[in-house]
Symmetry: C2
Subunit: 104 residues, 2 copies
């Protein structure tokens, strides 16, 4: 599996709009096992995104999906900064698709 | 919703054993919407844990569950360091329980 932990800073006052764009784009992405969008409670512009994918390739392929490309285009003007916190290798847990619940 | 992003450093050579303890303890925790355990690909001792819960209280209550208390006791000797990266407010995404897929 392939995982990402990232932080996205919305332009001032644009976090809600950016979250909507992010959530609109995440339905039915092949190979996506988990994609959680969260607000930072202390910083009103900060969004955390934690992801788990069947593979790096599945994640890369998702970037070509029309819905994702559209979300990226709609989201870009709302984003002040993006930061990758970590690339990870998910190994299991709760909230992953059944096939991935415990893989090395 | 209530979320956590954390890093755990296993004692040298103990990451696999610690991951097993973590995964053993996560089944059926009430209010747990997502709990993903991941390896850091660059650091052989580092584990990332990303969590989403229905509420802070649900997370706190989980710490009293027998299976979780046992996992904490078994895991403690294997842990060199723990660090909270962020407390978050998940607002939706994929891989969360149906009831939580899009909440404020």
């Amino acid at each position: 599996m392939y995982g990402l932990i990232g932080r996205m800073t919305a332009r001032s006052g644009q976090r809600e709009a950016l979250i909507k764009v992010l959530l609109d784009g995440v339905g039915g992405m092949p190979g996506c096992l988990s994609y959680v969008v969260a607000k930072d409670p202390a910083n009103p512009d900060l969004i955390w995104i934690t992801e788990a994918w069947e593979s790096r390739e599945a994640h890369r392929a998702s970037l070509a999906l029309p819905a994702v490309r559209e979300a990226i285009a709609r989201g870009r003007p709302l984003i002040a900064a993006m930061e990758s916190v970590a690339e990870t290798v998910p190994v299991g847990g709760q909230g992953l698709a059944a096939s991935a619940r415990s893989q090395g």
